[in-house]
């Protein structure tokens, strides 16, 4: 249990000190208070859900792959087989305190309705995705002349499940467009360290390898 009680990596803790959990997962977990009810959309093997449950959070999951679901259920997690694109509509309004979409947005067919559904089902949404504006990505396309591949996104263009890549800048624009309020935004660099907060957006968009956003419903209609 001691491992979970350690400080989260927001204070600039090196990745090797974060224990068995991924940095972005620790960051997400830190955004959620104990006792909350959470839906993790695209929960994979249930790593994040396990972290959340260890912190006293009531977690549920949706996962597309049957193997992923069955592995989650075999860990005792409450996970159902489902598709973010088609199954979110079945959840009632305000069913959860938080809905998480971790590294999944880029793999959905309709990112915009998915995002809208996240904030209908949950009071808040936490969305993380790989930033296609990351300098290494730009460099590969600019100099290499081929679609970028990285350690975290090793698939080739023809077999990648990621069909809707965006940059941090693109995502911020989408949030504006559908009247979503950005409560908190963190960009993580290649080593999973948060990019300092006081830097301008274009730096994040260039040096953030992934973005993690805490979102809520916008106050005013557009």
């Amino acid at each position: 249990m001691a491992r979970q009680e350690q400080a989260l990596p927001l204070g600039g803790i090196a990745p090797d000190r974060t224990g068995k959990y991924r940095t972005d997962h620790l960051l997400v977990a830190e955004m959620i208070s104990a006792g909350s009810k959470v839906l993790d959309v695209g929960c994979g093997d249930g790593e994040l859900l396990q972290l959340l449950e260890s912190r006293g959070i009531d977690g549920r999951g949706i996962e597309l792959s049957r193997e992923g679901v069955n592995r989650c259920v075999a860990k005792g997690l409450a996970v159902v087989q489902g598709d973010a694109d088609t199954d979110l509509v079945n959840y009632p309004d305000d069913a959860f305190d938080y809905v998480i979409l971790s590294q999944t947005l880029q793999a959905t067919r309709q990112p915009k309705p998915v995002l809208e559904n996240l904030l209908r089902i949950g009071q808040r949404a936490i969305v993380s995705f790989p930033n296609f504006g990351f300098w290494k990505m730009r460099l590969q396309l600019l100099v290499g002349g081929h679609m970028p591949r990285t350690e975290n996104l090793p698939a080739t263009w023809y077999d990648t499940p990621n069909i809707h890549f965006c940059t941090i800048k693109d995502f911020v624009q989408l949030c504006d467009e559908i009247n979503v309020k950005m409560e908190r935004a963190v960009a993580l660099d290649l080593y999973g360290r948060p990019v300092p907060l006081n830097l301008p957006w274009w730096v994040w968009n260039m040096f953030g390898e992934q973005g993690v956003f805490l979102l809520s419903r916008g106050g005013k209609g557009k």
Binding site: R60, R66, V69, V73, V80, Q81, P92
Partner: protein, 400 residues
Amino acid sequence: MTQLQSVSSPSIHSEDRAHEADHPTSPVAKFGIEQPLKLDCGVDLAPFQIAYQTYGELNADRSNAILICHALTLDQHVANMHPLTGKAGWWEIMVGPGRPLDTDRYFIICSNVIGGCMGSTGPASTNPATGKAWGLDFPIITIPDMVRAQAMLLDRLGIQTLLCVIGGSMGGMQVLQWTAAYPERVFSALPVACSTRHSAQNIAFHELGRQAVMADPDWHHGRYFERGTHPHRGLAVARMAGHITYLSDAALHRKFGRRMQDRELPTFSFDADFQVESYLRYQGSSFVERFDANSYLYLTRAMDYFDIAADHDGVLAEAFRGIKTRFCVVSFTSDWLFPTSESRALVHALNASSARVSFAEIETDRGHDAFLLDVPEFFDISRAFLESAGKARGLDGTGG
């Protein structure tokens, strides 16, 4: 008589079945006239009895009890030799020491459903008013009636809350009924290959089976006991039709293809030339030896009437509103009797009720009956779900 010649000479006699219906090989809980079973049809059934089997030990705080609900043609003999057929229990692959339903850890109960023919009161039992078998004088029973009887049995056994209720097919329907009727008594539920209501197609198949039984001249309007007959042929046809629905096209093809049975060439007759025919005839004939034809009518009827949403103004989610029970819904991809879509609809309703639910769809070509077969993924999921439920309920891991 060529078609069904293989079902004409049963080796288990009607008297054995009749004896088992009144005086089962299992422990029996008897309920007198002061404790009637209040049936949905309006009848108070009394006296009545429930035959059941248990495995493992009930712990000191009575928190490790698991109820298995059996399917249409099965019974309480889950993990012991069947008293009529002499065969192994129907779920020994799942229940036993070290198995997913670990008898070293859990106290497992399975009772014969009301309306059944293996010792719980049903149409094959003796009607105390006449001294003869109930036959069609037995009142129509429903899935909720079965569950109500099980709840009375648990009261008798001194078990307030079940760690889990588990069952497939008609057993799964009972699991869902348990959660809808007695949510506070069910800590976790594992409904497998089932639905919250019987579909039109399934009712149609059941009607086919019932008509086959009733068309058999040996049926005698359900009074075959008095005539010394049993509608073997009709019941065998019903079983054959039913059995096809428990399998899948792919499973039948893999198992039998178009292969011939003990011959090279067709006989140009209505003999069982094909292996699949021979197999079905065997399924029919072995079934009629152990099952009562009237019971088959009553139990299929109970399934037909099942519709949880209908009892809640047509809104399924209302049946589970505010429920604390942990669910694990399991379906099989090739099950066309209770297709995955039905389980998914259940999961959507449970989500809408904010229930804690897991849903695993298991890929297999073995059809509806997959829940009775060696499907390791199903075992792993059941085991983990029970472990997690046990942990949440504060069971220690002794013996695990």
